[in-house]
Symmetry: D2
Subunit: 269 residues, 4 copies
């Protein structure tokens, strides 16, 4: 499609693929709670010329809001991607290898796989497991091939539920997500990065407690494919576009196992 190989901003729309970050937003219980606090308020200090500034303290994690998982986020049997011992790359300043700063910003094509549309719904049911067959059929719907080194965005419609804390976090009813065979399908396509709308790019049943993360293992550890979580994809899904120009540039926090990101999608107007 023309706008991928050469587009005019005048004829393009920019879609915001990030959820707003605020104290109390839905987040994984595995990570410290996000908090923004104003330290200085206007009027606390007033300069000789009448100027004053406000500033904040932010306590966060690299896995809160819309964020990219670094390859070093997950290990399996003590090894991270590339067969490196996880114990050897972690320390007081975070990861010394495979941290999020090693993720080169991505500016390129992303194929949009709209799974709910396959089933004529806007939102997949809690706990639904996305299969390889779903992905293949969604690729057909998209009318665009998933290519090596590129990005794939997988819709579940769950960014529509962002403001429903209990539903979105899925603690009671679970969360839809890819199963292992879907992950293998993605790995076999040798994509660079995959993104989803849920808190974790996994299918989760009710409870979550004992959850394992097979998809994280297959993508991060085995295949070396980064994962974007908690994306705001519903506007892109509603556009009906099968592909977009994706701009994905996470904060370069050295040694972090993940980092918040404000991804953008550019599509024809």
């Amino acid at each position: 499609m023309a706008y991928i190989d050469g587009y005019r901003l005048a004829q393009s729309r920019v879609l915001d693929l990030a959820q707003p970050m605020r104290t109390g937003m839905p987040q994984s219980a595995n990570h410290p709670p996000f908090r923004l606090v104003l330290e200085r308020r206007h009027g606390d200090y007033v300069r000789s010329d009448g100027g004053s500034a406000a500033g904040e303290v932010i306590v966060t994690s690299g896995h809160i809001g819309t964020h990219v998982d670094a390859l070093g986020h997950i290990s399996h049997d003590g090894l991270v991607h590339g067969g490196v011992a996880a114990s050897g790359i972690q320390g007081p300043r975070g990861l010394t290898a495979l941290g999020i700063e090693t993720f080169t910003p991505y500016v390129g094509r992303a194929v949009v796989l709209d799974v709910p549309r396959l089933y004529g719904v806007d939102v997949l049911p809690a706990g639904y497991e996305i299969t390889a067959d779903d992905l293949s059929r969604a690729e057909g719907l998209a009318g665009s091939d998933v290519r090596p080194g590129e990005a794939v965005l997988i819709g579940t419609g769950w960014s529509r539920l962002w403001n429903q804390y209990d539903l979105y976090t899925g603690l009671r009813d679970g969360v839809p997500g890819p199963g292992p065979d879907a992950a293998h399908w993605l790995a076999s396509r040798r994509v660079r990065v995959v993104g989803g709308e849920t808190i974790a790019f996994e299918r989760m049943g009710p409870g979550l407690g004992q959850a394992t993360y097979p998809v994280h293992r297959i993508l991060l550890v085995d295949a070396g494919i980064n994962i974007v979580e908690t994306m705001r994809l519903h506007e892109l899904l509603d556009s009906g576009r099968g592909e977009c120009l994706l701009i994905l540039a996470p904060l370069p926090i050295v040694g972090a196992t993940g980092a918040p990101v404000r991804p953008l999608a550019i599509i024809p107007a």
Copy 2:
């Protein structure tokens, strides 16, 4: 230039305009120190299938590393941009108006004003005040007009000094930056956003202690122009390009007076 109105990624270069974020990086003493700490390390918890995850706690500010100042960051005589009383828009969850979440991500043209090149140097001297005349002459060098609603990036070469903490923070010798008449020049062009390489987009003399921030006042409070600080512009300056496609999407932290950002510049290969 062609790549602005329509470009091919295959013929483009993507430049990273953000400085790496790490504990101990240069930052303004007005803001809480950045800190990244691993909370969970690989092996702390191992799931039944052998999987383990590492995650961090990050303490930061909205004005650390490469970041965008929200219009609500600064007030003058008690008023923020638009003549609104600053006291009425601040609270326990940050700003209730003019927070960084109100900055729409910018994807568009940026003119690159290479001030050091005017003087045949790579790095402007500490404490140098950039004038309106410097900007006009640099615009000529750029061969590209500064247009309303667009972005301007002003080079000082100081991103080359990032790893020299004492020099970069300028506490002893000061920092180069625009003076009030340069700020008025920018305001008169009705640009949307301006960016620079230093810790604060101001000219600062040695000491800094009693510093006022006239440029912040003129741009943020009076003109409603956002400011990007601590940008990594030296690669872009070295490219010799007078303009680029700038992608500027700060984290949408609701109520924050500023937010970290990973800006990208796209230029022809």
Copy 3:
């Protein structure tokens, strides 16, 4: 009783009146969650002689775990204790007056008012309102007069519920505590400090949402009496002693509205 006016350590027991502090402990939702994270672990840095150190980052509030409320914690109609405008004593470094650093450590007699014992129970029911009459009768049981400038510890038995998060926080069923007339009774005795076992020294009904804090107002704002919350009193209650030597020395955090404390009670062996 002898041990109050002069005691021998050899014949004394020291009781710990503080609850253990840990991530996830019961706390008020009005305050930021407590978190302890190891920053450096043994082995991260090893000195030339084989030595290594571990250290942490702690994120907390002044109102978490066992803590003392500063007089400046609460205001009423814009005024703090002494009729001072609250707006004039708060800033970027906390309170500039009535902060917890102004609380002189207390070493002296405390009368123990065992309210559950009045009713032949170990734990008062959720939502029970302690009355002035309860306090008078408990004073009789204690066999010790509540005197001006001294301390009073009011038992509810709720420190026994510390490990039952939902019960202890009272979000569903409420929390027992003094009512306004009990607060007036305490104020009329002109005590210096009062302590209790619950998350807030107030009677709370189920829900808590719309709660007002009449007892905080009467004690902190009107009477200038500090409050200790989340105390671990059950051992002291079980001792059957009507009084003890109380040692109460909160951390001297300048400008804090409250501070954690490790109170001790000394009673005859």
Copy 4:
């Protein structure tokens, strides 16, 4: 002395042995900086009855201000006190053994060893190494025996320098403290806890960079004796008392390698 075996509060003085804690106070560069920030200010939320509350977020470490080092703070050749592998007692919630919560609050006699007085000065010189002989002679001056299981407070006079950041932190000139033979002297007396006035209970030369911590090793790792640092002893030294009743009850932060404390000394009026 009478006040040790049995004292009357009416005839006693209570001395505060803690330094005030505030943002910017002197602290070891090995630990995260202390910060107190008001999250809610009076007026942010006003309850239906006119009540309002202020509260803070505190970011700290267990080794800031006046604090007690847990036995698990230091390891040597991979082992903590008792020959336990350090790697086995650390995790995402801190130490699982030898954390500060295992330190039983101390209420008992402390001998005061006033080393500066031996030399007719108020403050020991930077970098001075306290010897075993100094301690023996100071014990003589104190007129009180150092006994097993009790506490020893070693004066350097440096709490008088608390407000002189550069001097107190000793980065340029060093800090006085015990040398290894003084540490062996203390260990041979089998005391339970020792306290000092400096940032680290060690003699440090100018620079500190390559410092090893032999005294920490001898006391914490080998002898199992806790260390109190950054104490405010000058009032006690000025009293001329050779002993006091020491109350030392650090915050029971489970898993912490150390914790802030507000120690008190009680001496005859």
